[in-house]
Amino acid sequence: MSILLLILAILPIVAGIIIKIMFVPAVEGISVTGAHIFFTIDLPLGGLPITESQVNSWLVILSLFFFCLFLTHDLKTKDISKRQVIAEWIVEAVDKMVLKNMGDFFMGFGPFIAAIMGLSAMTSLMSVVGLFPATSDINVVGGWAILVFFVITYYKLKAGILVYLKGFTEPVAFFAPVNVASEFATPFSMAFRHYGNVLSGSIISVLIASVLGALSNLVFQWLPEPLSSIEFFRIGLPAIFSIYFDLFSGCLQAFIFAMLTMLYVSNGFPQDEYFKRKALKHAKENKK
């Protein structure tokens, strides 16, 4: 059962590699392009292209879903397995982080933060196995940032629309346009930060690969014909660089995105006004 679920968790990634090999043409030379479009569904507003970003995102979601099932099936209260230790550790670590950064009012944010980190890290890490990292598509991270923006606004509105609108006139009414602009800048900055970092990582990886290829040609041009065309420097070396750009940067960006979400939501929430309002409401109900 566990093994089956673990296989099901890995299978989507394997499927992604197979899809890439079968449908995505190999890129010749140095080129930085977006995701490959498999087909386009006719819809207004430009149609919906089903691209590598979408497919890879879904594969990651499937993989994470099965991984969750793998971790949490057959939980026990005694004699717990290693799987359960990992599952409990993940939940505890995320909850602790949420508590530290957002306070106990936002304890329900654990799954959301875990989802952001898991999805972002996993989609970025897909570049390790040579797949297109969906986070280097602005539409993907844009969607997340907009969702986060909705969540931020929802919590800002919790203390009433008047408090929300009044928040824009602080410290003085004169700043209102700036405040509105900065409000909408939040999702943009989040999306572009994440997208830009992952994309730049990809670009740097491509550049390093090409530079190493050129260097290899230069150094080994004295070798006889079939050997000189092999780019020796491109064997292994780019992988070392990609440890930083794919592994480290991917995880770091996921962490930053989650951190910013937590900070924006908890900072935007007018806690004092909310509790004052709640107390008032409570008092009114008691009077009745």
Partner: protein, 166 residues
């Protein structure tokens, strides 16, 4: 056009991505956090129940211990009582036995005395008779004649009686 541009915005893709995150949130909530939290809560309640059980057991043990201590205390008193009763009983019995044996001894002595008395009386009677007989015979020989036996007998009897009295 087979590839997206590096920077291309498509509202549907953004929406899909938005819902992807929302879906993963629900999946994590339902299949990771809810499950783990449920099991952790269950374990916590089990631990509390176990503690309660242990406490109850300790209390019960203490109660039993107290009752036993009480019992032991009363048992000591009871043992003392029993011993007291036994001693008393033994005392009584020994007294009775002593009394009985004394009685018995006395009766034996009395019987022996009576026997001796009776035997003495018998012996006295026999001796008397013999003396009478002997003296009669002697007298007959001395006097040489038949004397009135009855007279003679009464005479000697009185003599002997007198002799005995002296």
């Amino acid at each position: 056009m087979n590839e997206l541009d590096v920077l291309s915005v498509n509202i549907w893709q953004i929406l899909i991505s938005l819902f992807n995150l929302a879906i993963l949130y629900f999946l994590f909530k339902k299949f990771l956090f809810a499950r783990v939290k449920a099991i952790v809560a269950k374990r916590a309640s089990e631990v509390t129940a176990e503690y309660d059980k242990a406490q109850k057991a300790t209390e019960e043990a203490n109660e039993i211990k107290a009752s036993w201590e009480e019992k032991i205390k009363t048992a000591d008193a009871k043992a003392e009582e029993i011993i007291q009763a036994a001693v008393e009983k033994a005392d009584n019995r020994s007294e009775v036995m002593l009394y009985e044996s004394r009685e018995k001894a006395e009766s034996i002595v009395r019987k022996a005395k009576a026997d001796a008395e009776r035997e003495r009386a018998e012996a006295q009677a026999t001796i008397k008779q013999e003396i009478v007989d002997v003296s009669t015979a002697l007298s007959e020989k001395i006097i040489g004649r038949e004397i009135n036996m009855d007279d003679h007998r009464s005479l000697i009897d009185s003599f002997i009686d007198n002799m005995g009295d002296e």
